[in-house]
C-alpha cells in the first residue's frame, strides 16, 4: 500500500475551508474564479451552513451560528448582510437553544450601526426575529403578552439608562473601578455608545433628532423613577426649543410620563411650565393644560401660582373652555389646597360687592370651580369644609361645572347635590341622588359605560328638568302679576328680567320643540312685561311721556312682540293660539283705550279676534277665559256700560305648558367674502350685485319672504321665490345674487340687509301703498347684516 504522502504544510488553510464548508463543496481550491472574488467564499460557505442547518448537520446550530457570526464581522458588506440572513435562517429552522438567540441578537445589534444599508436592514430583520423567538419563549413561561419593545427595553439596566442621560461617567455603586497594578482604573462603561446619548440628542442641530430624543426620553421614563426624574430636567430645558415640533413632542413626552405617574414637578420647573400655559401657540397651551391636570404639585405656593396662571390664561382666551376642566382636575387632585382656596373665596363672595356682578369675572368662576372640586377629591375631611355659600353660587355655574367635570357626573345629580348642600329643597327626589357626602368621580376605566348610560338618560331627564324649571318660572310670573300693583315696579321688572334670562339659558341648552317653546315663552314674557309697563303708565296717566317708556312706543313694541309670536312659530296647538289671541285682544283694547275714539280699524281687529277665539273654543275642548268672555260681552254691547280700564284689569297671563310640536321659524343670512377690511366694489349709480347665502328653517311654502336692503334712506325690497331654494321642508337654503339698484354717489357705503316675512295672521291692516314691497305688517326673521361696499375708483 504505497500512498505518496504530500507535503501538506501549505494546505492547512485549504483543509480548514474544506472542513468548515462541509461536504457540499468538495474542493474549493479547484474553483479558481470563485476564490479570486473574496466575497464569494463567504456566501458559498454561508449557503453551505444554511443547508447544513436544514439538514441538521452534526455541527448543530451553535457551530453554524458561531461561524456565521464570525463572517458577519468581515470587511465586505455583502458578506456581512448575507451572514445575518444566514443567522436568520438558522434561527428560523433550528430549535434554537438559549444562547443562540442571544448570540444572534448580539451579532445583529453590533451591526445596527453598520455603514452599509443592506447590512443594517438585515440586522433589523434579525433583531425582529430574535424578539419573536424570545417572545415565544417567554410566552411559554407565562407572560406571553409582553410586547417586544418593552421586553427589550427592560433588558437594559437602570445604570445604562442613567448613563444615557449624562455625559459624565456615572460610577456604579458596586466596585467603583478596579485597581490594577496599584493604579486605579476608571470603571468601564458597559455600553459606551449609550453614554450621554440623550444629552447629545437633545442638543442636536437637527430638530428631527431632538424630537426623537424627547420621544424616547418620555417612553423610557416608565422604566425607572430615577431616570424619569433626570429625564424631566432635560425635557424641561427643551421647552425653550426654537422648533415648535420639538416643544410639542416634549409636552407629549411629559404627558406620557404623567400618565404613567412618573412626573413630579419641582418648584424650579414651575416658571417654565406656567409660561407654557400662556404661550401664544394654542396647541402648546392645550398640551400643557393636559399635563397640568395630571400632575401632583407638592406645595401650596406652586398650586396657587398654577391656578393664578390658569386664570390669567382664561382671561386672555375666554373661548378656551377646557381651562375649566383643567381647573377642576387640578383642584380635585389637590383637595387640601383647594379647600384653602374655597375658604378664601367664601369670604370674598360674602363681602358686599358694590353692585358688581362678581360671578361674571373669570377669576371668580375659576375659583368657584376649584372650590367645588374639593367635593370630588379623595380627601374625606375637606368635603365637609366647603362653605355653603360656595354651593349656592355654584348652582348658577352648573353648566360650566358639569362641563368641567366631564361626562362623569350628569348635570341633574350635580344640581341635586348642590341644592342639598345649600339647603334648597330640590323638587325631584326621584332623581338619582348620590351618596350623602358627595358625588364620587370614577376612575378613567369605568367612565365609558357610564357615559353611554348617561347619554341615553340625559335627554329625557333634561326635558323633565327643563319643564320643572319652566313651571316654576311660570308660577313666579303669575305670582308677580298678582302682586304687581302692591310692589315696586322695579322689583317686578327685575323678576321678569331674571325669568327671561333663565328661560334664555334653558333655551340655549335645548333643541327641537322644547327649544322652540322656551323661546316662545321668552317672547310671551316680553309681552307680559310690556303689558305691565303699559298698565303702569295708564295708572300714572303720563301719556305725554316721551322716550322708550311712552305708551305709544310700548304699544308698538307689544304689537311687534305679538306679531313675532304669531308668525315666528309654526305648529301651534289650540291652547297656545288662544293665548296669543288673548294677548292680541288685550293689545287692541289698549289701542282702543289709547285712541279714545272707537277707531274702525281697531274695532275690526277686535271683532276678528273675538271671532277667532269663538271659533277656537267652538267645539268645547277649550274654554274662553273670563277676560275674553267679558270682552266679548262688552264688544257685543258696543262697549256701552263697560269701562275699558276695568276690562283691562281682568287680563291675567296664564301661559300654557303644553306645547305640542312647536317649531321655530327662523332664517339665516350670510354674505360671502365681505367684511370691513374686504369690501366689495361698485360703480356709483350702477346696480351692484350682493352675493348672499340664505338658509331658512321651518318656512312653509305659503310664507312670503322678502329681502330688505337699506342704504341710508333708500329701502329696497326684493321678493324671494321659495321655489328656488333647495333642501327639505325643515331646512331650505340657497346661494343667490341679488342686485341692489340705488347705489349712492359716495365713495363707500354700508348696506343693511335683512330677511323679512309678511305677517298675514289676522292682519286687518292698512294696505300700504307700496308697489314693490311686502303688504301688511312684517317681521324680521334674521339679524340685520352689514354689507360693505367701496367705489371702484377709490380703491
Amino acid at each position: 500500500m504505497e500512498e505518496p504522502p504530500l507535503l501538506a504544510s501549505t494546505s492547512r488553510a485549504t483543509a480548514s475551508v474544506a472542513s468548515s464548508s462541509s461536504a457540499n463543496c468538495p474542493d474549493p481550491m479547484d474553483e479558481g474564479p470563485s476564490v479570486s472574488v473574496p466575497g464569494l467564499p463567504f456566501a458559498e460557505q454561508l449557503r453551505a451552513a444554511g443547508r447544513g442547518a436544514s439538514s441538521g448537520s452534526p455541527g448543530g446550530p451553535e457551530a453554524q451560528v458561531q461561524a456565521l457570526a464570525s463572517i458577519s464581522r468581515g470587511i465586505y458588506p455583502l458578506a456581512r448582510a448575507e451572514a445575518l440572513r444566514g443567522l436568520a435562517a438558522v434561527l428560523e429552522t433550528a430549535d434554537a437553544p438559549g444562547g443562540v438567540v442571544e448570540l444572534c441578537h448580539g451579532c445583529a445589534v453590533g451591526l445596527m450601526r453598520d455603514e452599509d444599508e443592506g447590512v443594517r436592514l438585515a440586522s433589523v430583520r434579525l433583531i425582529a426575529l430574535c424578539a419573536d423567538k424570545l417572545n415565544t419563549r417567554e410566552g411559554s413561561d407565562g407572560n406571553g403578552d409582553n410586547q417586544t419593545d418593552i421586553m427589550f427595553l427592560q433588558r437594559v439596566s437602570e445604570g445604562v439608562l442613567l448613563q444615557s442621560l449624562s455625559k459624565k461617567v456615572i460610577k456604579p455603586n458596586t466596585g467603583s473601578g478596579s485597581i490594577i497594578k496599584g493604579e486605579k482604573v476608571p470603571p468601564k462603561l458597559i455600553y459606551p455608545c449609550a453614554a450621554g446619548i440623550f444629552a447629545h440628542g437633545i442638543e442636536d442641530e437637527f430638530h428631527q433628532v431632538r424630537t426623537a430624543a424627547c420621544k424616547s426620553l418620555g417612553a423610557l421614563s416608565k422604566l425607572s423613577a430615577q431616570y424619569a426624574q433626570k429625564a424631566l430636567d432635560l425635557l424641561m430645558g427643551m421647552m425653550n426649543d426654537d422648533t415648535e415640533a420639538v416643544r410639542l413632542q416634549t409636552l407629549q413626552a411629559l404627558f406620557h410620563m404623567a400618565t404613567y405617574g412618573c412626573l413630579t414637578v419641582q418648584e424650579m420647573h414651575m416658571h417654565m411650565f406656567l409660561g407654557l400655559l400662556v404661550d401664544m401657540n394654542a396647541s402648546i397651551r392645550d398640551a400643557t393644560r393636559k399635563i397640568l391636570g395630571l400632575v401632583n404639585l407638592p406645595k401650596l405656593q406652586m398650586f396657587k401660582s398654577a391656578i393664578d396662571v390658569l386664570i390669567t390664561s382664561l382671561e386672555k382666551h375666554q373661548e378656551e373652555q377646557e381651562i375649566y376642566s383643567v381647573l377642576f382636575s387640578v383642584g380635585k387632585n389637590h383637595g387640601n389646597f383647594s379647600a384653602n382656596i374655597a375658604k378664601h373665596l367664601a369670604k370674598e363672595i360674602s363681602m358686599p360687592s358694590d353692585g358688581e356682578l362678581i360671578l361674571d369675572k373669570p377669576r371668580i368662576k375659576a375659583l368657584l370651580i376649584v372650590s367645588i372640586s374639593v367635593a370630588f377629591s379623595d380627601d374625606k375631611h375637606n368635603k365637609r369644609d366647603i362653605p355653603e355659600v360656595i354651593f349656592s353660587h355654584a348652582i348658577s355655574l352648573l353648566g360650566k361645572i358639569s362641563c368641567a367635570i366631564g361626562e362623569v357626573v350628569d348635570q341633574n345629580s350635580l344640581l341635586s347635590y348642590f341644592c342639598q348642600r345649600t339647603g334648597i329643597p330640590f323638587w325631584e327626589t326621584k332623581l338619582p341622588s348620590r351618596e350623602s357626602e358627595g358625588c364620587s368621580v370614577e376612575t378613567v376605566a369605568d367612565i365609558r359605560p357610564r357615559i353611554e348610560k348617561t347619554v341615553k338618560s340625559t335627554k329625557c331627564l333634561d326635558e323633565v328638568l327643563t319643564m320643572q324649571s319652566v313651571k316654576s318660572i311660570i308660577e313666579t310670573v303669575e305670582r308677580t302679576w298678582t302682586i304687581r300693583k302692591s310692589c315696586n315696579i322695579r322689583d317686578v321688572r327685575n323678576i321678569l328680567r331674571t325669568c327671561k334670562e333663565e328661560l334664555r339659558i334653558l333655551a340655549s341648552n335645548s333643541s327641537g320643540s322644547t327649544g322652540a317653546f322656551l323661546s316662545f315663552l321668552c317672547e310671551y314674557l316680553d309681552a307680559v312685561q310690556f303689558i305691565v309697563e303699559i298698565l303702569r303708565s295708564f295708572q300714572l296717566d303720563n301719556s305725554y311721556d316721551l322716550g322708550p317708556t311712552s305708551p305709544d312706543i310700548l304699544l308698538e313694541k307689544l304689537d311687534t312682540s305679538i306679531r313675532r309670536m304669531k308668525c315666528c312659530y309654526a305648529g301651534f296647538n289650540r291652547g297656545m293660539e288662544i293665548q296669543v289671541c288673548e294677548l292680541a285682544l288685550l293689545a287692541n283694547l289698549f289701542g282702543l283705550s289709547k285712541v279714545g275714539i272707537q277707531s274702525k280699524l281697531v274695532l275690526d281687529k277686535l271683532h276678528w279676534m273675538i271671532n277667532r277665539l269663538d271659533c277656537l273654543c267652538a267645539d268645547g275642548s277649550c274654554e274662553l277665559s273670563y277676560f275674553s268672555r267679558e270682552i266679548k260681552k262688552a264688544f257685543d254691547a258696543n262697549f256701552v256700560g263697560h269701562d275699558i280700564f276695568t276690562l283691562l284689569e281682568l287680563f291675567h297671563p296664564k301661559p300654557t305648558t303644553d306645547y305640542g310640536m312647536l317649531k321655530t321659524i327662523s332664517a339665516d343670512l350670510q354674505v360671502r367674502d365681505n367684511d370691513p377690511e374686504n369690501s366689495s366694489t361698485y360703480v356709483c349709480g350702477l346696480p351692484v350685485a350682493v352675493s348672499l347665502y340664505i338658509s331658512l328653517c321651518n318656512i312653509s311654502s305659503q310664507d312670503r319672504l322678502w329681502l330688505r336692503m337699506i342704504v341710508g334712506e333708500s329701502i329696497q325690497h326684493t321678493f324671494l321665490e321659495l321655489s328656488s331654494f333647495g333642501g327639505n321642508d325643515e331646512v331650505k337654503s340657497c346661494s343667490t345674487i341679488i342686485p341692489f339698484y340705488a347705489t349712492p354717489m359716495a365713495c363707500s357705503f354700508v348696506l343693511r340687509a335683512c330677511l323679512v316675512m309678511e305677517c298675514p295672521y289676522g292682519s286687518v291692516s292698512i294696505r300700504q301703498e307700496c308697489n314693490r314691497g311686502p303688504s301688511g305688517s312684517i317681521i324680521e326673521l334674521s339679524d340685520e347684516l352689514d354689507v360693505y361696499f367701496v367705489c371702484t375708483k377709490r380703491r
Binding site: 488553510a13 463572517i71 464581522r73 455625559k167 442636536d204 437637527f206 432635560l234 430645558g237 425653550n240 422648533t243
Partner: protein, 572 residues
C-alpha cells in the same frame, strides 16, 4: 521623517494662540497668530524670532503659509504686527464663504470680514483709551487684510506642490474652522477653537474621518463636562421675565459677536412665544454692525437658521429696536444689550451707573470676566458699593444673574473628537496646565494615544510613519480570509453562550513572504507561490521506506537521524 511642532503661544495657557508645524521637506505652517490680552509688554505677541533660529533669511522664507482659524483676537491679534511690522509677505489664509446673493466680495469671508472690525476696535481701545503706544495702524490692518487669501469649507488648497490645507466647520463662532494640513504622508489637524454642541445660531463642529499623525486640539475645558445648556437658558429666561414683569430693566453687557446674537435669538423667540411687548434694545455700534454681517454670512450658521432663512432672516429680530442714548432714563421695563461685555467701560458702564441702584433691575453677566473689571467685582460676591474712582461710586442694589454660554467644547467633546479622528499623537494647547495634565492622562489611558502639552516656545518632535504600498497575490488574500473563519472547536465550545462570540478574529495575523525586488513594487505572497515567482523549480523530497522488517525495535531518535541522512541522500 518627523513633524516638528513649535508652540509659540497658548502653550499651557489661554491666549496668543500660535503653533508652527514643520513638516518634512522644509514645509512650515503657522496656525493662528494671536495676541495675549493679559500682557502689555513683549509677551503680548508670540516670540516670532524663534522662527529665524535655524538660519532663515526672513519670515517669508521661514514660513510657507499662515492659517487663521477665526477672528478672535487671541487667534488673529498679532497678524497685522507679523505681516506689517515683522514683514511677513507669504500667503495668509482665512475662511471664505461663497454666496451668490452677496454683492461685495469683501464681505463674503466671515473671518476676513469680521477680523478688521475686531482688530480696529481693539486698536482703538488700546491707543485711544489706554494711551498706549501704537503697535500697528488702521492702514496696517487694511494692508494686512489685502494679503489674505480666502478659504472655503472643505476646499482643498494646494499651497505649493507638497503642502495642501483644508478647512472644516468648527462651530465656536461665525467663520471658525479646523484646519487639516498634509505634506506627503504626514497629516495633521489643528482645531483652533471649536464646539461640538450646536448653539442656537451655530452648528456643531464637523470633520471627516482622516488618517492623522498629529492632532493639535484646544483644551479650554480639559476637565469640565458641561451639562445641557438648556437649564441655564431656562434660568436666564426666568430671571429676565421676572424682572421685566416687575417693571425692571435688564442690562446684558455682551461682546459684539457671538454671545449677543445667541442671547438675542433666545430672547426674541421667547418674546414671541410669550407675546411680550417689552422692547429689546441693541446699543449702537458694533452690535448692530455685527448683526448685519451675521445676516450676510448665514451659510455659516446652524441648520435651523439656514432653513428658516429662506422664509425670514432670523437676525432680523422682531422685537429688537435701536437704542437711543436718551432712553436710559425712560421709565418702564426694557432689555438692553450693551458693549463692552465685562462692563469695563464705555456704554455698558454708563448704563450700569444709571440702573444699578434700583433693586428692580437686573444685570446679566457672562461666564467669564477679566479681573479688575466691574463685571468681575460683581461676580465675586455681591457688592453693595462699587468705587469707580476716588470720587464716584455706585450703589449696587440690582440683581445679578450670571450666565455662561461657552462656545468651547467640553472634555467629552475633546475626547469624542480625538477618538473619532484617532491620530497617533495628540498635542493639547489653549488650556490650563493642571487640567491639561488630567486630559493627557485620559487620552493616554482610554484612547491609547500619545499625548503632550508643551509649554510656550517648546518644540515637540513627532515621528511619522511612512506608508509603503505593497501588492499581494490573490492566493495570499484568499488564504488570509480563510484563516479568519478557521475555528478551533475547543475554543468555540468554551466561549459559546457568552455575549460576544470570541472564536473569530477581526484582525488576524497572516503569514506570508514579502518579496522586495529592485525597481518593482514590493509584493506579499504565500509560501507556496514563492518558488514559482522566483522562477525556481520545486524539489520534492521523497522518503523511501527502509526495510522496517529487518530491524525490529529501534529508538525514535535514531530513526530521525536515519531519516535526515536519507534526506541528504535523496536530495538532488
Amino acid at each position: 521623517m518627523a513633524i516638528e511642532c513649535l508652540v509659540l503661544g497658548a502653550g499651557q495657557e489661554v491666549g496668543k494662540s500660535c503653533v508652527v508645524v514643520t513638516f518634512g521637506g522644509g514645509k512650515r505652517v503657522m496656525f493662528d497668530c494671536g495676541m495675549h490680552m493679559g500682557h502689555r509688554d513683549s509677551r503680548r505677541y508670540p516670540d516670532f524670532d524663534r522662527l529665524l533660529a535655524d538660519g532663515a533669511a526672513d519670515y517669508t522664507a521661514a514660513i510657507s503659509c499662515v492659517v487663521i482659524t477665526h477672528f478672535h483676537l487671541d487667534h488673529i491679534g498679532a497678524l497685522p504686527y507679523f505681516t506689517e511690522v515683522c514683514g511677513y509677505h507669504g500667503p495668509v489664509y482665512m475662511t471664505y464663504y461663497d454666496c451668490a446673493a452677496l454683492v461685495y466680495p469683501f464681505q463674503q469671508y466671515p473671518t476676513k470680514a469680521l477680523a478688521p472690525l475686531m482688530l480696529e476696535d481693539y486698536r482703538k481701545v488700546m491707543v485711544d483709551h489706554r494711551g498706549e503706544e501704537e503697535q500697528y495702524s488702521y492702514e496696517d490692518i487694511l494692508r494686512c487684510m489685502r494679503k489674505v487669501i480666502p478659504l472655503d469649507l472643505k476646499q482643498t488648497i494646494q499651497v505649493d506642490k507638497d503642502l495642501s490645507i483644508r478647512a472644516y466647520y468648527a462651530g465656536h463662532v461665525l467663520g471658525a474652522a479646523m484646519i487639516y494640513a498634509k505634506v506627503g504622508d504626514a497629516a495633521i489637524v489643528y482645531t483652533g477653537d471649536y464646539n461640538m454642541t450646536p448653539d442656537r445660531h451655530l452648528g456643531a463642529a464637523q470633520i471627516d474621518r482622516l488618517k492623522l499623525d498629529l492632532l493639535i486640539t484646544e483644551s479650554t475645558y480639559a476637565k469640565t463636562v458641561r451639562d445641557s445648556k438648556h437649564a441655564r437658558e431656562r434660568e436666564f429666561l426666568k430671571a429676565v421675565h421676572k424682572c421685566v414683569s416687575g417693571g425692571g430693566k435688564v442690562l446684558i453687557p455682551a461682546f459684539a459677536l457671538g454671545r449677543a446674537q445667541e442671547l438675542c435669538i433666545l430672547l426674541d423667540d421667547y418674546w414671541e412665544r410669550m407675546n411680550l411687548k417689552i422692547p429689546i434694545y441693541f446699543s449702537a455700534g458694533l452690535t448692530i454692525q455685527a448683526n448685519m454681517y451675521y445676516k450676510m454670512l448665514i451659510g455659516w450658521t446652524s441648520q435651523k437658521i439656514k432653513n428658516s432663512y429662506t422664509v425670514h432672516n432670523p437676525f432680523d429680530f422682531k422685537h429688537v429696536c435701536h437704542f437711543e442714548r436718551s432712553f436710559i432714563n425712560n421709565p418702564g421695563p426694557c432689555v438692553l444689550f450693551a458693549t463692552p461685555g465685562m462692563i469695563s467701560g464705555g456704554f455698558s458702564l454708563e448704563v450700569f451707573k444709571k440702573w444699578a441702584p434700583s433693586e428692580k433691575n437686573l444685570v446679566t453677566l457672562p461666564g467669564y470676566c477679566v479681573a479688575g473689571t466691574i463685571g468681575h467685582k460683581l461676580m465675586s460676591g455681591k457688592p453693595t458699593r462699587i468705587d469707580i474712582d476716588k470720587d464716584t461710586h455706585i450703589d449696587v442694589r440690582c440683581q445679578i444673574h450670571q450666565l455662561s454660554f461657552s462656545p468651547h467644547t467640553d472634555s467629552k467633546g475633546i475626547m469624542d473628537l480625538t477618538e473619532f479622528l484617532s491620530p497617533s499623537h495628540v498635542i493639547l494647547v489653549h488650556g490650563e496646565k493642571p487640567q491639561m495634565a488630567f486630559l493627557k492622562e485620559r487620552i493616554e489611558s482610554e484612547l491609547g494615544m500619545q499625548c503632550c502639552y508643551p509649554a510656550n516656545n517648546e518644540t515637540v518632535s513627532i515621528p511619522t510613519s511612512q506608508n509603503l504600498k505593497i501588492n499581494a497575490t490573490e492566493k495570499f488574500i484568499v488564504s488570509f480570509c480563510m484563516d479568519e473563519t478557521e475555528n478551533d472547536p475547543q475554543k468555540q465550545n468554551l466561549n459559546f453562550g457568552g455575549d460576544m462570540p470570541q472564536g473569530c478574529r477581526t484582525e488576524g495575523v497572516a503569514e506570508g513572504v514579502l518579496l522586495m525586488e529592485k525597481s518593482k513594487t514590493p509584493k506579499i505572497l504565500r509560501e507556496d507561490e514563492l518558488l514559482h515567482s522566483l522562477g525556481m523549480e520545486t524539489h520534492f523530497v521523497h522518503f523511501e521506506p527502509l526495510h522496517p522488517s529487518s530491524i525490529e525495535v529501534k529508538h525514535t531518535g535514531e530513526s530521525a537521524v536515519q531519516q535526515s541522512s536519507l534526506e541528504h541522500l535523496d536530495c538532488e
